[in-house]
Symmetry: C2
Subunit: 485 residues, 2 copies
């Protein structure tokens, strides 16, 4: 990249003035701006970098302070030093080359941006896959913890597969879904995401192929790609992934694994029907296609419980089953689990030990209490009724503001509604324009590269007032973009 | 009832061997032991069920006869079939091929074994790098937590770099070591190990070269290799890594990074002298060689504080500095940090988000309290005096039992003594023989492939009585092996 082409990277997290400062320093270090060179005017620099003049002023201030430039008002600014001996006899390292070199792919820049903007207090978050703060069981968690006997909490390193009491509790917990798993078949993980990472590291390799619904949460995850695994989407209909197509995909591509979210799918909210589940189970047995069943939303049904997990009928041990407390209780705990045949669980546990020596022992103890002492079900009742109200409200609002133009799924549980806008609406434009107005959306193409007129909408996070405000802003932008009624 | 708890019922009237046969069949039916799974040895099964070995032999005979398991004497028994048509019409997947396929290297089998055996209650652990259970601040942690205001604890997902209060606290904490780091230069990790993993993923790639002391903790970690990075050892003397050699290594190999543990080195216990630190800093500046300074043992000095961290003099931002609460307070918290230039920290934070969406929020809140409220220093006093007593005792015991034959380092802090036995002693033999007698050691060749007559001894974990018992067992085995006085 030549300096001519160099642009401010607004998503890098590095302050803009710092980027400008560094840019100028590089010019000096590399001998492109030698001592005595006159710098462009502040106005020209501001235009060149497309920033406010104050940002340039800040950058220049630093350069003055470091003794690299000098100048009089009106007379222009000049490079006066290139050794900045005061600072260091040596140039500093080019860490940026390291940052670019690493084998691990960076997150989609839009996801990086979302991750950052989510901590901007001003913003209305229309896509966040997380319970609203007032639905988190703060006081219940507090009482769990304050009742806990600490002599039993392991403050030391834990067993590779995780705290045995928690694994016994999870084993018992899974019985309610008709899943039989002994503690030795359970690995405790730091959230369901980590389970997927361990599978990626432990069971897949460069060139492996994983099928997933299209769209899918899985497409938003980069570490499969970092490891050289391809994630290929298989279309869905209202009953879930299309098993007819799935068989073709499996036969034509040498597929290693199917990843599926059969209940309250992320991002579409769709629940796989009972008949489709049977077809899928049959297909996977016949084709010897192993599966990851990601069931983190199962207990968030709002009308009726979903059909039993695929795993409950899995006599062959073909399915790895993933669960988590993040969606029903607290993502901050970072506790999830993965169930599977022993050789697989041993392998993943070994990698887990290499990765972080196990999940927070404290989190594990709290999770065990939470699951065994009735808190789980009690709290589920509370959030179910709240989510139900939120879902109704959201559906009403969508009808009001997008009734004639967009269409959307109606979820029977979970957090998500998948909204498809008219083709004229390009979701990256919608994203940028909405962000300028402090509304954050999750563009559909994170979950399916082709879904460039869709968004994942979540009714779980923002307050109902904010949901309305946000949707209104979207409707206004749509009108602007010409996609409205 | 879970399988872990399952017991033979001696009053049921069902023959014991039949109960065992049925238990194993259930494991196979439920897909917990899939085709290819290796069964525990007959001896282990007999111990597990508390029956005579002949009872197990009888049960296995049935399983052989039914074609469910196969195997040769000595070669172990494997599940070979789960199709016995009554149960299931389909063969189960060959998960073992998946387990072998994954890109991630398994841990050294000896480390896997150590990880498992550490949870065997009978065993005396002579190498464990962890505070003894009675040195963990159980009641202090309890009071920290019980005083905590939960409204402030984030139960939701955290910011990419970690809880801001904790980062502010760490920033303040680092001032005592003369390290200047603002919260935006700090990433909270789930233990120091994770920091190293993030560096491996984020800053290195296939073919990268990392230098480390020889021996080093780093050699025991496999994920660098999994990513195709080579870790090359540079010899040490009593003052730390030999900088004279280091320069040659750096010039001859295109080195990406130096990893060093300057204070109370793992596994040798050596502390880098002040003069050596200066040389190293100079070298790294001149050669533009960036460093990871792993300083997790710093505060465990027993005689005098070690020289200031390398990072405290790092004006160029060449050093990534790693710390953790695992060695001074509680490994179970899984809280550590890495400090570095902002582009690096941003990059690592992005990967952290992809990996586990952040460290347990609860652990982070507790860590912040621990570091800010004086608990840290108070507890350090307690463990320093205990470790000091333990070190004296350990050195006495070594003198008594190995006085004429082995030699060892004398650490000024931390946990470790590096013992070198006479060449006749092969450490893998020592390991196996000791394990048979319920004594677990950490063989030196985990930390340096060439250190096949060394062990890492830790005086931090086992009780003083157990240390003595264990050392006595080692001395006896040594005599057997012909390496003794
Ligand atoms: C389908 C699915 N799986 C896994 C996860 C990750 O959950 P956790 O917080 O338990 O890592 C999410 C969260 O967004 C999800 O939607
Ligand atoms: C030098 C060194 N670094 C890092 C670690 C990992 O510590 P943590 O438990 O904080 O991940 C250890 C633990 O053995 C260690 O000895």
């Amino acid at each position: 990249m030549t300096d001519q082409e160099w642009k401010i990277d607004r998503y890098s997290g590095i302050p803009l003035h710092k980027q400008i400062e560094d840019f100028i320093k590089r010019k000096i270090i590399h001998g492109e701006w030698t001592v005595g060179t006159k710098l462009p005017s502040q106005r020209a620099l501001a235009a060149r970098f497309q920033v406010n003049r104050s940002t340039v002023v800040e950058a220049m201030g630093e350069l003055y302070a470091q003794g690299l430039v000098e100048g009089k008002t009106g007379g222009g600014t000049k490079v006066c030093n290139n050794t900045w001996s005061l600072l260091s006899a040596y140039a500093s390292l080019d860490w940026n080359s390291y940052v670019k070199k690493g084998s691990y792919h960076p997150n989609f820049s839009i996801i990086q941006k979302i991750n950052r903007e989510e901590f901007n207090e001003e913003i209305i978050r229309l896509g966040t896959g997380e319970l609203s703060k007032d639905l988190l069981p703060v006081s219940k968690m507090e009482s769990v913890i304050k009742k806990m006997s600490f002599s039993k909490v392991a403050l030391g390193y834990e067993e590779p597969k995780g705290n045995i009491i928690l694994r016994q509790t999870v084993s018992k917990h899974l019985e309610r879904y008709d899943i039989q798993a002994s503690p030795s078949n359970i690995l405790i993980v730091s959230g369901a995401l980590q389970a997927l990472q361990l599978v990626s590291f432990g069971l897949l390799k460069k060139g492996s192929i994983v099928l997933a619904e299209s769209p899918s949460y899985l497409h938003s995850i980069k570490f499969f790609q970092s490891g050289g695994t391809q994630v290929i989407g298989v279309p869905m209909d209202k009953d879930g992934v299309k098993t007819s197509l799935l068989r073709q995909y499996k036969q034509q591509l040498s597929t290693d694994l199917l990843y599926t979210i059969p209940s309250f799918h992320n991002p579409t909210g769709i629940t796989m029907s009972e008949a489709r589940r049977k077809e899928l189970q049959k297909l996977c047995r016949e084709e010897q296609l192993p599966m990851i069943e990601d069931d983190v939303y199962r207990d968030l049904w709002l009308d009726d419980p979903p059909p039993p997990p695929l795993k409950s009928k899995d006599k062959e041990g073909n399915i790895l089953y993933v669960g988590s407390l993040s969606k029903t209780a607290s993502p901050g705990l970072r506790v999830g689990w993965i169930i599977g045949p022993e050789p697989v669980i041993e392998r993943l546990a070994d990698i887990k030990m290499q990765t972080d020596y196990g999940t927070s022992a404290l989190s594990q103890s709290i999770a065990a209490e939470w699951l065994s002492e009735g808190y789980y079900d009690e709290h589920l009742k509370v959030i179910r009724s709240a989510l139900k109200r939120r879902r109704e409200k959201a559906l009403q609002l969508l009808q009001t503001y997008f009734g004639g133009s967009a269409h959307w799924t109606i979820p029977a549980g979970g957090f998500y509604i998948w909204i498809t806008f008219p083709k004229e609406i390009r979701v990256h434009e919608l994203f940028e324009k909405a962000l300028k107005r402090n509304v954050l959306i999750n563009p559909g193409n994170i979950y399916d590269p082709a879904a460039s007129s869709c968004i994942r909408f979540s009714y779980a996070y923002s307050s109902m007032q904010d949901l309305e405000k946000g949707i209104k802003v979207l409707a206004e932008i749509m009108e602007e973009l010409g996609g409205s009624r």
